[in-house]
Symmetry: C2
Subunit: 372 residues, 2 copies
Amino acid sequence: MNKTPAGPRFTKLTKSLAASVPFVGPETQERLRGRAFDARLGANESVFGPSAKVLGAIADASQHMWKYSDPESADLRDALGVHHGVAPENIVIGEGIDGLLGYLVRLLVEAGDTVVTSLGAYPTFNYHVTGYGGELITVPYRGDFEDPDALIAMANKAQPKLIYFANPDNPMGTVHSLNAVQKMIDEVPDGSLLILDEAYIECAPDGSSPAFDTDNPNVIRMRTFSKAYGMAGARVGYAIGHVDLIRAFDKVRNHFGIPKISQMAALAALNDQQYLSQVIAQINDAKRKITEIGAANGLTALTSATNFVTLDCGADGDYARRVVGALGELGVFVRMPFVPPHDRCIRVSAGTADDLALFAKVLPQALEMARV
Amino acid sequence: MNKTPAGPRFTKLTKSLAASVPFVGPETQERLRGRAFDARLGANESVFGPSAKVLGAIADASQHMWKYSDPESADLRDALGVHHGVAPENIVIGEGIDGLLGYLVRLLVEAGDTVVTSLGAYPTFNYHVTGYGGELITVPYRGDFEDPDALIAMANKAQPKLIYFANPDNPMGTVHSLNAVQKMIDEVPDGSLLILDEAYIECAPDGSSPAFDTDNPNVIRMRTFSKAYGMAGARVGYAIGHVDLIRAFDKVRNHFGIPKISQMAALAALNDQQYLSQVIAQINDAKRKITEIGAANGLTALTSATNFVTLDCGADGDYARRVVGALGELGVFVRMPFVPPHDRCIRVSAGTADDLALFAKVLPQALEMARV
């Protein structure tokens, strides 16, 4: 009788985890449907792409790709430090904000620890918390806004290791004022760390983001080149915080993990702020257009401080899910919030004129199909 | 009196870790010395670079970098499956072998678990094991070779979660025969997982690598585009194993972590096997030249199955460290093994004709300086 090998012994924790991906990629959907989407408006990427200077930097960097990248990302951190008025020692570069969230959770969270976030906020953060055995405590949004007061109140009660707060918010696109955010920062209970996820901050109205205070050990800020900078595929995010916290990432990160091309592309993107302003204008135009298209079809747009518009479909989650499905069948990739009552909405990224012409054309048909 | 905030609460484990990097990058050394190295022969990169087709693929991919990359890396996994004669479900792509080792250790190792490796083997693996609270048990090399029999004997004794074995080996560059490796695979105690790190396998003599057997849950193979394929800066590694083990990576990995450009570059590299053969020939020429340069200076070269040559400096670790330092001062970046008795050696990557001309020129001077 042959012995069947039992295979590797997973930890109790990882044995309990689902082999799940927080987001199904559009490529996966395209493989399932057998053809590509005609408009890619579901992942809040920037269809306007990166600066031409970024493409030039990539061509230069490709000549050096045989080399391991600088594990300190020194050039990029120096430039970000100048840009934000903080020291390079207060900045860590990661494989997107996703990568940084993973490292941060690993540093702080173990089995039994609690973490506070909003019900319906960024699922990849939840993926990391669960992945390290943490317990998620959620507070509801207040209408279509994350609720800083409720998050702080819950933090005072639960004494969590981490509090997650995105400003502007995804998936609703709403933003809080600088004063509201500063008040939240000031009220973080000692022993908790506030993650202020500012992935979309470049798209927000001026004055939505408090000044950096790297003396404060109770907050870490996260930014990315994936959104307004148009470089989602490069995977470059960064965190700004107290030097002791930033240095701790060196205990756990994949030191050589940021590709050389990505580092040099991000540096070029940062150095072309004129292009960024131009893109923000294009994003704002596109958001106006999406709002109009929605209105023409009886859908109300939420005011957006991001590079997408959340459209209220005016019914329940099942209806909105059918709208998303129908749009997909008609060649337009969009996504939607995960939980009620936000799942009455669909989420449409700022697109090119062609993208939005197609969206305008097929939306009436999609709504018709969804009505069943 | 102001309250000084205590800051975030790290886990007991991460509090105990050092904020260390397994390897100091040459860029860090260059910043310290105030000028660039003239020859970069210390990180076993491929100075010959990637195929011209890779550069073309990067230019194409850069047009799409505004998109998140395919989290399944489906095109690359399909192509690798065909190349190696395994199913895509048996392959996971990671941020270099470093990234995959981190995920694998996380899946299996928690506080108190043991892991077996060789004393002086890959330090980044050790970094991950320590980082997840595992306990490293080391066995000595047998001469300049890792010792499969000793590794298996220790595994039978310690019943570790993981056994690490590199073939060919780094830092010594030696290789075991297919038969020796197959015997080791067959003898892995049930409940232990053998990591067969084949980062340098493309440089090894034909027949150094056993056939893939994805029915075997007790072994996982790791490969990379960082060495012979000349793409260290792209950070693409892959692992091949049993479908249950490969699927488990989906529980913990950074799903969107492999940049679009890196995926497409790796695909182009894989599809240009003719270029790979050409590079292997160049590597072999360079290794011959390094051997000759060593011999002309009284240093004995170990037979190498990798893209570097380990040169025995004939004295102790302090002497070899002085040689490495002197070469650095003279503009040549090399590294050396970490532990005795291997630290009698220095490790020189296959270089261009210019690199090796400089190495030949400055080596006598460096040896002179090291003699003190």
